[in-house]
Structures are given as C-alpha cells and as structure tokens.
C-alpha cells in the first residue's frame, strides 16, 4: 500500500470500528459494481462490441482473437489494485461479472424489447471461466510474470471452448436460396441491420480459410500471445491510475 502504515493498523477492528469498516466495504462494493458495469462495458462495446452483439459476427478468425484481447484489459488493471493492496483475488472475476450483467440487461431491454431482435441473435459471450482462471493463477502464483504468461494465455485459450456450448448450435449448416450457410447467417439475413457483417465474409476469403478447422485454434493461440502482453500493459496502467498523489494545482 502506498501509505506507510504501521503493523498495528492491520489488527482487525472490533465493535463500532468494525461496523464502520464494514459499512465502508459495502459502500465501495456498490460503487465498484456500477463503476465496472458502466466503464468496462463501454470500453468493451466500442472496441469489440460488434462481435459480441451479433451471433453472425461470431466468426472463427476475429472473434476468438479480439474479444479476449480487449476482455483482459480491465481485469488486469483491477487485479493490480485489488491484489497488490488488499490481497483480494477477484479483480478479473469482478470485472467480467459486471460486464456480463451490463450486456445481459442491454441485450434484453435494448435489443429484444425495443427493436425486437431475437434474444438468440444478440446473446453475449462469456469470459467468466477465463476470468476465474486468471484470478486463480494470480492468487496461487502471486507473480505478475507467471500470471501474464500462463493466466493471460489461458484467458484467451479458454474463451472459445467456454462459448462453444452456447453458440455451437448456431454454426450448424442450413441450405437457403441454393446456398449453404449457417443458422447464424440466417439470422443475419432475416433481421436486416445497418451493421450486416459483409466484411467478415470478405475476410474469410483470405488464406486462413484454406486452413479449415485449424483457423480457430490459430486465432486463439495468436490471442494467447497478445493477451500475455496486453495483461502486462494493463497491469501497469491500473497501477498508474491508482496513484495516491495530491497536487498543488492542476
């Protein structure tokens, strides 16, 4: 912790002091809940949101690459504060749980009830298994390096298998208009949007397409490498923001 606290201060409080400390904890908990739903969700939606909004954007080359890469940012920054200063091994899970709450509320009330998109078309992906693993690695290793390498990699590698049970059924092939396409693509054609993923199909004409089913693991491993770096970067961003400095003027 930044302040020079004497060991005496870490004695557990009793009586009224304990009640004050507990009241402060609850207030901080409410604060953190809304803070991370609001901020992490905005950050996530405006960087990789399209892949998360739509079932037909959940492709095998970009979705497994970019979603964990952006998803690991806030967890790393929050872990840097909560683990280093309070030994709370829940920074990643807190952020990702908040993100899930925010996305689910928005998908149901903003997409489904306002504009009548089927909920299956706009179901959010999950990063909870990845986040739990990341927190567990940090707690067990107490090491930034080990967590960045193993936790960061696992965060990316777990993403696709965690989501496959949710979204796999939408990748089943169907035949429509003399073309073979997925159920997810059918959603896209039935519910026309201004954000139709035309470009995803153009991207799929690239060389990676010849790799067939290997494309997804390749994307996941690429993401694993990048997550390792992203984790370290955002750990330091989190530490930098958690300054305790007071300035004379701004």
């Amino acid at each position: 912790m930044s302040a020079n606290l004497s060991p005496r201060t870490f004695r557990p409080y009793t009586g009224e002091k304990a009640r004050i400390a507990r009241a402060y904890d609850y207030l901080v908990l409410v604060l953190a809940l809304f803070l991370f739903i609001g901020s992490f969700h905005l950050h996530f939606a405006l960087t990789v949101g399209d892949w998360d909004f739509w079932v037909d954007w959940k492709d095998r080359q970009w979705w497994p690459l970019v979603t964990p890469l952006i998803g690991i940012t806030f967890p790393a920054a929050v872990q840097a504060v909560l683990w280093t200063n309070f030994r709370l091994p829940l920074g990643a899970t807190l952020c990702v749980a908040c993100l899930s709450i925010g996305t689910w509320i928005a998908r149901v009330f903003a997409y489904h009830y306002w504009n009548y998109f089927p909920i299956n078309m706009v179901m959010p992906s999950t990063m909870l298994p990845s986040a739990l693993f990341l927190d567990a690695v940090l707690m067990l290793s107490n090491s930034l390096t080990i967590t960045a390498i193993f936790g960061g990699s696992a965060f990316a590698l777990l993403f696709y298998p965690s989501n496959w049970p949710i979204f796999g059924m939408f990748h089943l092939p169907v035949e429509a208009g003399n073309s073979q396409l997925t159920v997810a693509d059918m959603f896209g054609f039935q519910y026309i949007r201004t954000g139709m993923p035309e470009y995803l199909r153009i991207i799929e004409r690239g060389t990676l397409r010849t790799y067939g089913q290997i494309a997804t693991p390749l994307s996941a491993f690429c993401s694993a490498l990048l997550c390792t770096l992203m984790y370290t970067l955002w750990w330091h961003i989190g530490k930098w923001f958690a300054t305790t400095r007071y300035l004379n003027r701004i």
Binding site: S2, Y24, V30, G38
Partner: protein, 257 residues
C-alpha cells in the same frame, strides 16, 4: 445490575438507525431511487414514442416529441449543474482545521456515497443507453445527430454523470482536509477523464457526417469515448487514499462496543 445514565445514552446511540457514520444513508438511497425513476422513465418514453415519432427527423412529430425533450434536457442539466455545484460550494466548511475525527470519518463515507451515485450515472450512460444506441442505429437510418436515443444519452446521461462527478470532486475539496490541502490526482482523473467522453461527442458526430449507413461500434470514431472511460481506473487511487486516511482516523478513535 444497575444501568447508569451514560450507559443508557450509549445504548440508545447504538440502537439508532442510521448510525452517525451513515447519516446520509437515506439521501443516498433516495438519489438511487430518483435516478432510477428518471432513467427508466426515459426508456419507457422511448418505447412509447421511439418508433412512432422518432424515425424521421423532418416530421413535425419529431419536433414535438424529441426536440422538445432535447431542449428540456439541456435546460435541466444546465440548471442542475448550477444548483448542485453552487450548493456544495456555498455550504463549504470554512473551518476544516478544527474538524473532529468522527465527522471526518462520516464525510469519507458520504464521499463514497457521492462517488457511488456518480458511478450509477456512469452505468446508465456507459452501459445501458450506450449499447441501446447501437441497437437503435441498426434499425433506424441516422438523419440527425439528435436521434431518439442520442437526445437521452448525449444530452442528459453524459452531462448528468459529469455533474455528479463534479459534485463528488467538490464535496471532497470543500469538506475533507486532505482533499482541501491538495488536489487529489486520482479523484481528478476519475472525474475529468470521463468528462472528456462528453467532449468526444463532437468527434463522434463529425465522424458520422462521413459514414451514416453502416453502423459499427468498433470504429475509430468511437475511440475517444474508450480512452475517456479508462480514467475511471482513478477510482483505485481514491480507494487507496480513502482507506489510508480511514485507518488513521479509526486508529485514533476510542474502542466502543
């Protein structure tokens, strides 16, 4: 065993709810209630009139249902900023040197409530109505920067959290000795950074003058919002400042049951 007057007083103090350190609890809960009613009211209004009157900005009905709401929002947030910031400034504590430790503890908890209310407004602006904006743009071609969702998101929600962030900053600056002596860098970052999101509306709307048909959220014209929201991590520093000071204050308090 006989109970003396002081013990009875102490027992009465303990039984009182809310206790002295949560004096502002009901105001805090009321703020949540009022904000929830406002934001849910907006959503119900959008549900009622979004599709029927909000699709074409050239229709007379759009002027009545949406531009009037826009004018109301801008007027309301301007007045609210003046009243709330003015109240906090003019009722400031001018005798902070003599602040009692118990009162300082109470004010730290109240500051946390202020920041909580700020983050609650950030939730509606950054999470719900932000994603809803994408949903709306997928079904309605934008023909104005004042869409049925923008009028609420950009011209009420964004200013509202900026005002509440400013309130938290002013509360700390005018009522807590450490924040009065120096300007807290993390608190300033956590308030000023998200304020820049409001400013980024200009960049965003300028960008949309080039692209209005294809609506992608992961587009560079939105990155101003993203960078602004990173500054929310300043809350980590506020937490450390608060915890450090609270420990000092609590250590100085007498033990009570």
């Amino acid at each position: 065993m006989a109970t003396i007057t002081e013990q009875v007083k102490a027992l009465n103090e303990q039984a009182k709810f809310p206790p002295w350190y949560l004096k502002d609890l009901y105001r805090y809960l009321s703020a949540f209630g009022v904000l929830t009613a406002i934001y849910m009211g907006f959503r119900i209004y959008q549900g009622a009139y979004g599709v029927s009157t909000g699709l074409d900005a050239t229709e007379p009905a759009f002027e009545i249902y949406w531009m009037r709401l826009f004018n109301f929002n801008v007027t309301f947030v301007t007045l609210f900023a003046g009243v709330s910031w003015g109240y906090l400034w003019f009722t400031r504590d001018k005798n902070l040197e003599n602040l009692k430790p118990k009162e300082e503890i109470r004010r730290y908890l109240t500051l946390t409530m202020w920041i909580s209310i700020y983050t609650f407004a950030v939730y509606w602006a950054g999470s719900y109505f932000a994603e809803q904006d994408n949903s709306w743009h997928q079904v309605a071609i934008r023909d104005t920067p004042f869409t049925a969702n923008h009028i609420i998101e950009f011209y009420f929600n964004f200013p509202m959290y900026v005002i509440l962030g400013g309130c938290a900053w002013l509360y700390a600056r005018t009522r807590l000795p450490l924040y009065a002596k120096g300007i807290s860098l993390p608190l300033t970052l956590a308030v000023v950074g998200p304020f820049m999101i409001l400013v980024s509306v200009g960049f965003n709307e300028w960008g949309h003058t080039f692209w209005f048909r294809e609506e992608f959220f992961a587009a560079p014209i939105h990155y101003g919002f993203v960078i602004g929201v990173w500054f929310a991590h300043g809350v980590g520093g506020i937490l450390l400042q608060g915890v450090t000071r609270l420990i000092e204050l609590l250590d100085g308090l007498e033990e009570t049951a």
